[in-house]
């Protein structure tokens, strides 16, 4: 941070308060007082210079604090083999909704691995094989803290996820949002030994757009207007009547624009909801309503900060935002499996000439 130093010299030569007006023989003149007398001549030895001020200048040397970028990781629940979330509401505080958030693909892969839920109130177990957004609900008959358990058995072991809920549901009070998962291996040295750890809570803060936007947009749109070049020719038709009013012009399957009015004073037309007026003097006026920055302009994403832009990263570091997507084939590079080869041409091209074809 830069620091400035400025010097000021204050003496009777730059002060007016130390000149006392006197009159003698009709002549009015001033008489200087000594600086010492001025500085201590006030009440309790204070200075007589009560209006002594200095104009000074402050500057700020600034650095961009960096920009926020969408989190360059894939955020999802940490363990997808077995997990669930739950919800409730105050209108029906004894009813709990449980969503099985285990990975669908995992379920497809292990079709025999069913999920069983224990509501924790002694009401027995229940299968919960459909995943979120489907849910199971359960109504508790009395107030207490219940441990909801979902168990999934697969060939490698048993995973159980436990989360404690409090009934009746009163408000947004999360007593144990992270839950706990236990895995009991079916074989090996650790067979039968339960291993457990806590889940990471998946919902942080209230992450929706309506909570993020504030007064940055207005509910009553305001007019945005200005001058531009005529775009009337883009609304021309084929045929004898090139420009017709109230005839929508279709482009790419959607309404592109329409000529609203043609008269001696102006030609009014609309293109992509922007209204244009062409005047005889060659000017074109456009008008459009805007609501400023609206929720449509915003998207929700986790944010991280590029510390490298702060000039504060203390060591060499390579930061990259290049992502490689695996398994994507070019549209121009058709690849067929062997079972899809059904003619000689396919066979010739298969595997970039894998088969040696002898033409006779």
């Amino acid at each position: 941070m830069k620091s400035d130093r400025t010097y000021y010299l204050i003496s009777p030569g730059v002060l007016s308060d130390d000149i006392i007006k006197e009159t003698y023989s009709g002549n009015t003149f001033g008489v200087y007082s000594a600086m010492t007398e001025i500085l201590s001549g006030g009440t309790n030895g204070s200075s007589l210079l009560t209006g002594l001020t200095l104009p000074i200048v402050f500057t700020q040397t600034y650095n961009d604090l960096g920009y926020y970028t969408p989190f360059d990781g894939y955020i999802l629940q940490k363990d997808v083999v077995n997990n669930f979330v739950y919800s409730a509401n105050t209108t029906s505080p004894f009813e709990l909704f449980v969503y099985n958030t285990s990975d669908k693909e995992f379920k497809k892969f292990l079709q025999l691995a069913d999920y069983v839920i224990d509501w924790g109130d002694g009401s027995g177990t229940q299968s919960i094989n459909s995943t979120s957004p489907s849910y199971l609900s359960h109504t508790y008959s009395y107030s207490s803290a219940f441990t909801v358990t979902i168990t999934q058995t697969n060939p490698w072991g048993v995973t159980t996820v436990k989360k404690t809920i409090t009934v009746p549901f009163s408000n947004i009070t999360i007593t144990n949002p992270e839950g706990n998962i236990t895995f009991t291996p079916q074989g090996g040295n650790w067979s039968g030994t339960p291993l457990s750890y806590d889940f990471i809570f998946s919902g942080d803060a209230e992450n929706n757009i309506s909570s993020q936007v504030s007064s940055n947009y207005v509910s009553v749109p305001f007019m945005v207007t200005g001058y531009t070049k005529s775009r009337l020719t883009s609304l021309g038709n084929y045929g004898t009547v090139k420009y017709a009013t109230n005839v929508p012009i279709i482009k790419n399957g959607q309404i592109y624009g329409v000529i609203d009015e043609i008269n001696n004073d102006y030609t009014a037309y609309t293109i992509n909801d922007v209204t244009y007026y062409d005047y005889p003097d060659g000017t074109t006026l456009y008008m459009e309503n805007s609501s400023g920055l609206t929720a449509n302009d915003l998207s929700v994403s986790a944010i991280t900060k590029q510390e490298v832009l702060l000039d504060m990263v203390s060591s060499p570091e390579i930061q990259s935002e290049v992502f490689i997507e695996r398994g994507k084939n070019s549209a121009f590079e058709g690849i067929e499996r062997l079972g899809e080869v059904d003619n000689i041409g396919d066979l010739t091209r298969y595997g970039y000439g894998f088969y040696k074809i002898n033409k006779v």
């Binding site: 620091s3 500085l39 040397t61």
Partner: protein, 301 residues
């Protein structure tokens, strides 16, 4: 290849409440031990300039950069050297906890309890209100860790989420953001992530119960060296080039400024011995005893 350039200095437009003014006084340049060091109330003596009809802005729009500093007469009442050190105000508080976000455990930060913050600074402790502030740290013995600081990169209200660790009596406290209604503020700092070439070298961001100093960076510190003196070039010019009169009747010698105000008056006389030999020619300052009849207009008319 750079597409352009931008300046990194702007006129500051901070509030006087964001300023701290420290006054150092010494009666002379060589008196270095017997000095006065005290804080002046910036909110009282510092006033921003606002636009007027001649400067192009609204009259309620701050001009930016230029402020008026009043030198209080109760403090600037002696000749000598006053050094005013004007710097961003310091907010002194304590780290309540150091933690991570429950949903993003790789996001570390310090948690500050607003109840430990001076009420006059609590208006800064709102969502994103501390971004850009600097955090400096104190040791247990009250000394300051030198040459060490962190920058606040975000600040949001938060509340703790408690989790029992397996096989341990410890508790893992994590934090989640809340919109409001919390006395705790989660501040992320930079740097707080380890370099990629040594992932276990997590930067120090403080520890619970550690005293810290949070400072805004709204402006650069400045130093004003104000010397209250009897003479400057203008007064010396009065003595050299100004009008002067010498009364031959009573020997009163008068110096006038450009407006013919009486600047100084002296008695001129000679001292002789009993043999009428001239021993001294004397010029004696008359001080407050000014003979008004020697005003310039009366003399020359």
């Amino acid at each position: 290849m750079a597409l352009g350039s931008y300046g990194i200095t702007r006129p500051a437009d901070m509030s006087p409440e964001d300023v701290e003014i420290i006054m150092h006084y010494t009666p002379s340049r060589d008196v270095t031990e017997d000095f006065v060091l005290k804080t002046l109330d910036a909110a009282t003596i510092l006033t921003p300039y606002f636009h007027n009809n001649n400067t192009g802005g609204n009259t309620n729009e701050i001009l930016g950069g230029m402020y008026n500093l009043t030198l209080p007469s109760t403090e600037f009442n002696e000749k000598g050297i006053y050094t005013l050190y004007i710097r961003p105000a310091e907010i002194r508080t304590t780290i309540t906890d150091c933690g991570v976000l429950s949903a993003l455990p790789n996001v570390k930060g310090i948690i500050v309890d607003l109840n430990n913050v001076d009420p006059k600074f609590r208006n800064k402790f709102v969502a994103q209100g501390l971004v850009g502030f600097r955090v400096e740290y104190l040791n247990d013995d009250g000394t300051k860790i030198p040459n060490f600081y962190r920058i606040v990169t975000s600040s949001f209200y938060c509340e703790p989420v408690t989790t029992n660790l397996t096989n341990s009596s410890q508790k893992s406290i994590r934090y989640r953001y809340v919109e409001n209604g919390s006395d705790l503020m989660f501040c992320t700092l930079s740097p707080s992530s380890a370099p990629s070439n040594k992932p276990n070298a997590t930067p120090y961001i403080g520890q619970p119960d550690q005293d810290i100093i949070i400072t805004n960076t709204f402006f650069n510190p400045i130093t004003l060296d104000i010397e209250m003196a009897e003479h400057d070039i203008d007064t010396l010019a009065i003595a050299l080039y100004g009008n002067q009169t010498k009364s031959m009747e009573d020997g009163i010698y008068t110096l006038y400024d450009p407006s013919n105000n009486i600047y100084k008056q002296y008695n001129l006389f000679e001292i002789r011995d009993e043999f009428n030999n001239l021993l001294f020619e004397v010029r004696q300052d008359r001080g407050d005893n000014i003979d008004f009849s020697k005003n310039f207009n009366s003399v020359i008319n």
